[in-house]
């Protein structure tokens, strides 16, 4: 079974700094593998260990995105496809079109896995858009994926229900983080990751150039947490009494 996993090098939201004008500093911000993408890589490795085959990491991003690629390869993926492109001004549609072309060009794959959304912008548009561009069946928000022969059975975790769908191969799926616990690569795996083959492409080489994004970012402002931040210390009884008093004054507890 041949599996493509889409991985994004995302801005590390925990390290994101705010500039003097109140907008976040994205240029040069610390990055990491988008948190939930590791669940997608893990699921691909799990499926491969059961059925054999190959796991290929596909990423779109600047040269620096090679860091995320290496991390995914260190987890145990076999090789990578890196479409080198400046993604800062791209919308999910452009990224999906590039991913779809890269997947078509380097495939065919039986399965394309994504996470439900990236840990930075969390739009969640890329996976269903990929399914549209690849003209393949799609199962979003998967919490369990089973592949047998030419078909698959996927449990989708929705808000208040679980839906089981059958998708013929090839198909696209996005996973939720509850699907598995991503492995940590060993030191040896991390060292070996740099030796694994990574094929490079560009939007031009994929026949996609001059595309303009349809969704624009007009402005970004850091969210100020306007909270009172009253710290209550003392014995448990004192703390409890003060908290109850404060909450009663706020009118958020009965009585």
């Amino acid at each position: 079974m041949k599996i493509a996993v889409c991985v994004k090098q995302a801005v590390d939201e925990t390290e994101l700094k705010v500039g003097p004008t109140g907008s976040p500093i994205l240029t040069g911000a610390a990055t990491k593998v988008s948190t939930f993408d590791k669940n997608a890589v893990e699921e691909a490795l799990r499926l491969k260990s059961a059925a054999g085959g190959e796991v290929v990491i596909v990423t779109v991003g600047p040269a620096d995105a090679r860091k995320a690629m290496k991390e995914a390869l260190a987890m145990g993926a076999d090789r990578g496809v890196h479409v080198v492109a400046d993604t800062e001004k791209m919308d999910p549609m452009l990224v999906s079109q590039i991913l779809a072309k890269a997947i078509q060009k380097t495939g065919p794959y039986d399965l394309t896995l994504c996470s439900e959304g990236s840990s930075d912008t969390y739009c969640g548009q890329v996976p269903p858009m990929l399914a549209e561009y690849l003209a393949q069946p799609y199962a979003g928000y998967a919490r369990k994926v089973e592949v047998s022969g030419t078909t698959s059975r996927v449990e989708r975790a929705l808000e208040d229900k679980v839906e089981v769908v059958e998708c013929p191969i090839p198909f696209v799926a996005s996973v939720v983080s509850e699907i598995n616990e991503p492995r940590y690569p060993t030191l040896i795996q991390i060292m070996q990751a740099s030796k694994k083959p990574v094929e490079e492409a560009t939007p031009d080489s994929l026949g996609l150039s001059g595309q303009k994004p349809l969704v624009r970012v007009e402005s970004m402002s850091a969210q100020t947490m306007n909270r009172k931040r009253v710290l209550i210390e003392g014995t448990p009884d004192e703390g409890a009494a003060k908290l109850v008093e404060a909450l009663a004054k706020e009118g958020v507890i009965p009585g």
Binding site: T121, P128, E159, D160, V164, E166, V217, Q223, K228, V230
Partner: protein
Amino acid sequence: MSQEVWAFSESDSVANETLAAANEVANAISAKAVMVEVNGESPGKASFGKKLVVRGGAATPESPEAAAEAIFRAAKQAAPLVILVGGTKNGKEVSARLSAKLARGCLSDVSKLSCDGKTLMGERGEYAGKVQTKVAADLPCIAAVKAGSYSPADGKGGEVAELQVGDVQPKARTLSVSRKEAATVDLRAAKVIVSAGRGVKKKEDLSLVQSLARVLGGTMGCSRPLSSDLGWLPEEYHIGLTGLSVKPDLYLAVGISGQLQHVAGIKDSKVIAAINTDREAPIFQAADYGVVGDLYQVLPALEKALASRRR
């Protein structure tokens, strides 16, 4: 071109929220808000001015693939200016698919929509809620409206139209649908939420949190580790970026450190209180009131203090 703003959601409650958003956008540009249903009964659901029932073979509103295809075909015929989709998980899929099919922009998970007749604008939380981003797309376009961000519109019966779009057959086949075990837990509507985190040492100790929630007339929730990693509570209790976003009057975080992903799901709460042993825990930065202390001592003390107030 017809001047219409469409609203669709496969969920009845979210449909009326989406319609409220559509009313707002339609009023701003003197267009007509239209509630769109896929193979629905007619007449039925709340409607403002007009309801459009799209009929397409085996398409069901619950299949995002089929709903998107049916609405796409209808949109090709009727050319709405804006299509708003309720931002449930399935709704987000429908909106993204429509965007790809129509080759038009799609704003994902937005609230505070505005429209000047040329461009649709909306705001969305990004970077685990650290940043509020204003995004825009030129009309005609699509948006997934963040669930819970609009008060449901009041239903008024109106003109009902039907549109046949031919046979729609999804590639993914639904084998079964089961309600989640705790589907009755409706944290989105709760006025008081007491939430448990890693500070709770054993599954049995959740009874302490549950008990306080009961005393406060509230509902219990949890942070991601308790549902996803430890499996102590079903996923429906998980509050945070990849779980539920809630906005109760009181959110009380018990033994929750306050990772950004968790705070992203609670930031619209009216009052946030927290109990944590670590006075440096990030949750205290996100809270109005923070009690530094051991939940195993503070929770019983809180129940006692609440009881003595009522006497």
